[in-house]
């Protein structure tokens, strides 16, 4: 099936012959059962990164490299594996390995110094596929390394670093999950073209959108699922979709903003700069932040009109993103808003299945039900959720106890208020999921989703066994009883910045029932008023009008009497 999609994506007439040839080979050489799998169309809900093989690799405009890697003799050798390529890279880039080993893309581990919480994919539970931990055989396809299957992975061996996934500029590199998983899932990776290591190694350059996007556009299990402001439409965006990444215009790559220093880059959502008070910094100074202000300054609107001055007065309370990202999922790719794990596990004739009832803007059909995951809802052109945010997130981690009777559990909650002086109103994508939890201990659970064994949920559809195995594998207490709990997660929105003419107008917020209706603790003209003052004022006006009319009427009547 992926040969099929791969060729279609290359999709020019000149490739037709290759396509026909491969079809011929496929049909004549493959056993019938395998030929059947080729009939599946490419599935945006199951990308697993193969589909990042892009039709037209983007071009970086800001590269100022003095080297052409295709001319390096060292790279003109028949590599047979990733680590071999890495070894060669590190011969010249002597420090890159050690530098990168401190990067969260390698460690999947982040300690928030302010809250003391242990975060990162190694630890967190989210409300999509819930946990990468224990499912590395699948999830570590997005680890920037080679072969993280389980706890035996060697994080100290720099040859395990995958340089290419970020630096490939040929558009042909791909990653599959480190392990095959259950038979139900393993069919997804069949039939890939082998990677042309030498060709890929010679193509390397600075990362472009499809490199980062290969993982970040597909978070949560499919295109645009997780973030809403990050999806494959940003590979070739127009100005309407993103004013900075606009391919015909500024054509920013991700690290135009997410600037890096020694392979560590800025702009992590684990530690958000919610209010940048330094702006562009001193002349010539480089600021290692990914904030809007670091380029646009602290008075981003020209002070040439009353409205612009007023807009500049907003920036201490309103994040740039709030007005300049009017809606998310604008590029024709939907984002998931609702996931119900309770309905997972239904089968037809003993087989898992999926329903694709949602058609998104670009015409692709999205799964609204999958046996392995449950029911989904999607949204496009979604108005974000808004909240006061000081940059700090508090996570419900695997060891956090909560009270399910107190309503929805926040997987992560943003901290901030109208009065702390550090917060601004930020847009978020709110994700609602009904997901399993440990009913006895009132904690979230690690599920064993992926594996070749009989406990893996994906293949066996038994929550009880999957949770038990997932918790045992990590030496975590499990009461033996699970139930489902409503959860929210909040994803700060900062991409898909619209052109200024599409920014929000004042009326979107400064009205009674506008976008900020739910935000409390501050006074906003147009939205707020003092009830008693208004009542008193209106009564006074009406009374005065009535008195004046009465006074006038009496005069008229009395005058007539006298006449």
């Amino acid at each position: 099936m992926f040969q099929h999609s791969f060729i279609l994506r290359l999709g020019h007439t000149s490739r037709l012959m290759v396509f026909l040839f491969i079809c011929f080979i496929t049909v004549t050489t493959c056993p019938p059962s395998m030929a059947e799998t080729y009939e599946h169309p490419s599935d945006v809900d199951m990308n697993f990164r193969q589909n990042i093989v892009v039709e037209k690799p983007t071009v970086r405009v800001d590269s100022n490299s003095t080297a052409d890697h295709s001319k390096f003799e060292e790279l003109k050798q028949p590599f047979s594996s990733g680590p071999e390529v890495t070894k060669t890279c590190l011969k010249c880039h002597t420090e890159a390995g050690h530098q990168f080993m401190k990067n969260i893309h390698w460690t999947w581990n982040y300690k928030n110094e302010k809250t003391g919480q242990l975060l990162g994919k190694k630890h967190l539970v989210n409300n999509f596929c819930t946990n990468a931990r224990g499912n590395e055989g699948m999830c570590a396809q997005c680890h920037a390394g080679y072969g993280w299957k389980d706890e035996t992975f060697d994080f100290t061996n720099q040859d395990n670093i995958d340089c290419i996934v970020c630096h490939d500029r040929s558009g042909t590199y791909y990653k599959t999950p480190p392990t095959e998983g259950n038979a139900t899932c393993s069919i997804m990776f069949e039939g890939k073209q082998p990677i042309q290591w030498s060709e890929v190694a010679q193509s390397v350059g600075l990362p472009v959108r499809e490199n980062c996007g290969g993982c970040h556009f597909y978070g949560g299990g499919g295109d645009g699922v997780k973030h809403g402001d990050l999806d494959s439409s940003l590979i070739h965006p127009d100005k309407k979709l993103d004013v900075h990444m606009d391919e015909a215009g500024l054509n920013f790559s991700c690290n135009s903003c997410h600037v890096s220093d020694k392979h560590i880059w800025e702009g992590s959502r684990y530690d958000v700069v919610a209010k940048d008070t330094k702006g562009t910094g001193k002349p010539g100074q480089r600021r290692d932040v990914a904030t809007c202000e670091s380029c646009h300054g602290l008075q981003p609107h020209p002070n040439d009109s009353l409205s612009n001055i007023k807009l500049n007065n907003h920036i201490d309370r309103i994040a740039c993103q709030t007005c300049h990202i009017p809606t998310i999922a604008r590029g024709g790719v939907a984002t998931m808003t609702d996931w119900d794990w309770r309905t997972a596990g239904k089968t037809k004739n003993g087989e898992g299945y999926k329903e694709k009832e949602y058609t998104q803007g670009d015409g692709e059909h999205r799964a609204t039900y999958k046996s392995i995951k449950g029911d989904f809802k999607y949204a496009e052109n979604l108005v974000p959720h808004y909240g006061w945010f000081n940059g700090q997130m508090i996570y419900t981690t695997i060891d956090t106890k909560f009270d399910p009777s107190k309503g929805v559990v926040d997987i992560n909650s943003y901290v901030g208020s109208a009065t702390d002086g550090k917060s601004r109103i930020w847009p978020f994508k709110q994700m609602h999921t009904v997901m399993p939890y440990d009913k006895g201990n009132n904690t979230l659970v690690y599920m064993h989703l992926w594996g070749e064994d009989e406990n893996a949920y994906w293949g066996n559809y038994d929550f009880g066994n999957a949770i038990k195995a997932g918790m045992e594998k990590n030496n975590l207490p499990y009461s033996g009883e699970y139930d489902f709990v409503d959860t929210y997660s909040y994803w700060p929105i900062t991409h898909m910045v619209a052109p200024k003419e599409d920014a929000l107008t004042c009326n979107e917020c400064h009205v009674k029932d506008g976008r900020m209706t739910d935000l409390k603790g501050f006074y906003m003209p147009g939205r707020d008023s003092n009830y008693w003052l208004d009542l008193l004022g209106i009564i006074a006006i009406i009374t005065t009008l009535l008195a004046v009319i009465a006074h006038g009427l009496i005069r008229v009547v009395m005058n007539r009497k006298r006449d």
Binding site: L306, K310, V511, P525, L533, I541, L545
Partner: protein, 215 residues
């Protein structure tokens, strides 16, 4: 003693009155729009127009204050209780019985005591409060640390005074109808001339030295 039409509202005073009228009308309209009472103007246009008119009115007031002080016209607003009660009684009772207005305009006293005290209150209390609260509102990012309580009070005071000014406008317009005719009451503010009781000395002075100001 004779009643003559003399110039009591000079050109500047009329300009001041009517431009102030226009600005206050726009300010009330845009202000209550910003407040959320109507959506006839979008918020941005309303704020722009409101601010522009407010600044214009402030400039106008600066000129008007200067004018009042240098021409001595401020004396017209000196409050007095002399005859105040009679005027109040007239509006409460006498007017219905067809009585004559108890006050007769004088050369140096063009407002009746009730008018004088109302205008004085407007100028010394309502106007200063609305422009101080308005300036604080406009410039609150410069002094307020949050848009919570501090801004609430500024907004409440500003709105309360706006209501009071609207009340003044309503009564002010209504009172124009209490003379012989609405037109007769408005004309002095258009051509400047109104019927005023003059002493013979005043009359003689005007006829000799300011013949253009007496008809």
């Amino acid at each position: 003693m004779s009643q003559r039409y003399i110039m009591i509202f000079t050109r500047f005073e009329r300009f001041w009155h009517w431009s102030q009228m226009l600005l206050i009308m726009i300010l009330l309209f845009t202000g209550f729009g910003i407040h959320g009472f109507h959506q006839l103007l979008d918020f941005q246009s309303a704020v722009e127009l409101h601010t522009l008119c407010a600044i214009s009115l402030l400039v106008l007031w600066i000129f008007a204050i200067f004018w009042h002080l240098t021409t001595g016209t401020w004396r017209h607003y000196v409050p007095t209780t002399d005859g105040l009660w009679k005027v109040a009684q007239f509006y409460a009772f006498g007017i219905f019985k067809g009585e004559r207005h108890p006050y007769h305009k004088a050369y140096w006293r063009k407002h009746n005591p009730l008018q004088a005290i109302s205008y004085l209150a407007l100028k010394l209390f309502l106007f200063p409060v609305i422009w101080i609260s308005g300036i604080l509102y406009l410039l609150y990012p410069l002094w307020a640390t949050t848009s919570a309580e501090q801004l609430v009070w500024v907004a409440i005071i500003h709105t309360a005074v706006a209501f009071a000014i609207l009340l003044f406008v309503i009564i002010h317009i209504y009172l124009l109808s209490t003379g012989h005719s609405f037109k007769e009451h408005v004309m002095p503010m258009i051509n400047g001339f109104d019927k005023v009781e003059l002493s013979s000395e005043e009359e003689a002075y005007l006829e000799k030295d300011e013949p253009g100001n007496i008809r």
